[in-house]
Symmetry: C2
Subunit: 300 residues, 2 copies
Amino acid sequence: MSLLVVGSVAFDSIQTPTQTRERILGGSATYFSYAASFFAPVRLVGVVGEDFPAEHTALLKSRNIDTSGLHVIPGGKTFFWKGKYLPNMNDRETLEIELNVFGDFRPKLPDAFRRSEFIFLANGSPVTQMSVLEQATGPRLVVADTMDLWIRTQHGELMALLKRIDGLVMNDSEAKLLTDDENLVTAGHKILKLGPRFVVIKKGEHGAMFFSEHETYVLPAFPTERVIDPTGAGDSFAGGLMGYLASRGNFEPQTLKEAMAYGILVASFTVEDFSLDRLRRITKGDLDLRMERYRKMLSF
Amino acid sequence: MSLLVVGSVAFDSIQTPTQTRERILGGSATYFSYAASFFAPVRLVGVVGEDFPAEHTALLKSRNIDTSGLHVIPGGKTFFWKGKYLPNMNDRETLEIELNVFGDFRPKLPDAFRRSEFIFLANGSPVTQMSVLEQATGPRLVVADTMDLWIRTQHGELMALLKRIDGLVMNDSEAKLLTDDENLVTAGHKILKLGPRFVVIKKGEHGAMFFSEHETYVLPAFPTERVIDPTGAGDSFAGGLMGYLASRGNFEPQTLKEAMAYGILVASFTVEDFSLDRLRRITKGDLDLRMERYRKMLSF
C-alpha cells in the first residue's frame, strides 16, 4: 500500500563523547523514509535549499523513495541542526539551529500523493500536520509524531489534531508532559482518551510501549554494544513500523506488534553509526536475522 | 533445593508523592524471602533488635521461611531507614538511616544452614558477604547483590568476592559505576570478566538484562499502572529469581530466563503497595496468571 511521510530533511552536525561529524544527512523524513524503504516504497514530502547535494536525493531515489514532493527552494538553505550528546548517549543539547527553508515549510502534496493510504506526519507543528490531512483523500491510517514544543505552545491545535489521527508516536518525556502523569502506563491510557486509536511511547534504549483500547504492552530495545549516534532512532523506528504496516496492508493487532518489533530493530541499526551509514550497509535479510534473534531473546 | 539468604531486616518509613508510612516491615532479606517463598522454602539469616514485633517473624514463618538464623539482639534496635521518593517514583532520597544492630551484623549460619545449595548474599559489605561464603559448605549456586557504597569504598574486597560467586545482581547505575561504562551491554560484558558466570543488571521500571558468556538479553518490566511504593522491588526480583531456580534445582539457560521473568513479575506485584502488603494478597496462581499475560505480551 502507498506510504506518505511529511517531515524535515536536514543537515546535522553532531558531537558525541568520542566523535564529531559536520553537516551529515539528517531530518525526520530522511530517517523515516530510508527505514520504511526496507519494507515498502515511500512518498516523501519535504523542503530543502539549493545547497542540498544531488547525491543525497539520488540515495533516497535509489531506495524506491519518491522524491517528487521534495521541494528545492532556489537560493534557499537547508534546515541545519547542531547538537551534542552527553556521555550517557541519551540526553542531548541543541548547540545551533537554523530553520532556513524549513521555517516557511507549507507542505503541498503532489496530486499523485493525495490518495496515499498510509500517512506519517513526522514531527512538525500541529497546524502544518493538519494542513497535510486536509490535502489527503481518504487515507486508511494516519499516524503522527509530536514534541514538547508543540505540547507547550500549540496545545489547542494539537488537541484538534489528536481527534483526527489514528495513531500517535511520541517519546516518554513528551507523554509525561502531555498528560502531567509520571507513570507511562497511565499516561498512555490518558492519551488514548484524547482521540488516537493507538499510542506508541518511545523509551529510547529501553524500547517502546503500545496502547490501544484492548492492549497494553512494552517491547524492549534490541541490546547493542555499538551506540555511535542515537540521532534518527525515533524516526527510524516510526519508518520501520509504518513501512511494515504498509507492506502488510493492514493494522490488525498482530501486525501492529510485528511492526513495533521491526521499528525497534531498524532503530537498533540506525544508532550503530552516524546518519544513514549503518542502514546503508544492511539489507532486509540483516533485519530478518536480527528479528530471529529478537524473537528468541523474548521467548522462554 | 535449599535456599539461603543473608541480608537486612528493617523498619522503613517511606514518603511517596501521595502517601507516607511509618516503620513498616522492610529490608533486603525480608523482601527476598517473601518473594522466594512463592517457589521454595527459604532460610533467612539476619539480625533485628528487641523492638522487632513477633507478628513480623510469625508472618515470615507462615511462609515456610526458616527464621532460626534471625538473631534478636537483647536491648538492641532494628535497622531503620527513612526515605522519600521523587515524583518520578524512581529516584529517591535517604532522609534518615539508623544502622542500629545491623551495624554490627556478623552473620553466623546455624549449622543446619551451612550446607545450603543456593545462596543469595543480599546487599552488604563484600567482607560480610565473603564471611558467609566461608561458613558455607559446597553451595551449588552463589549469587550476590552489591551497591555503589561498596564499589566506592571496598573495591578490592568486592573484586575478591566477584571471583568467588556465580552470579552478580546489581542495578544499572551501579553497573555503570563499577565499569566506568555508560553502555549497559558493554558494562555487563565487562563485569563478566571480573569473575561471575552471569550478571543481571536491574533497570527498575525498564526491566532487567542478563549476561553470560553465550547470552545477552533484556526482558521488560511488566507494565503496571499501580506503582505505590518501589521499595523492595530489586530484592523481590532477586527472591523470585532465586526461589524459582531453587524450585527447579538447576540453573540451565532456559531455567535462568524463566527465573528472570518470575523475578520481574514478583517485583511488579511488590511495587503495587507498601511493604509486603501486595505480596500478602496474592498467590502463586496470580503470579502464573501474570506470567501467562507476560508471555503473551512478548510473543508476536
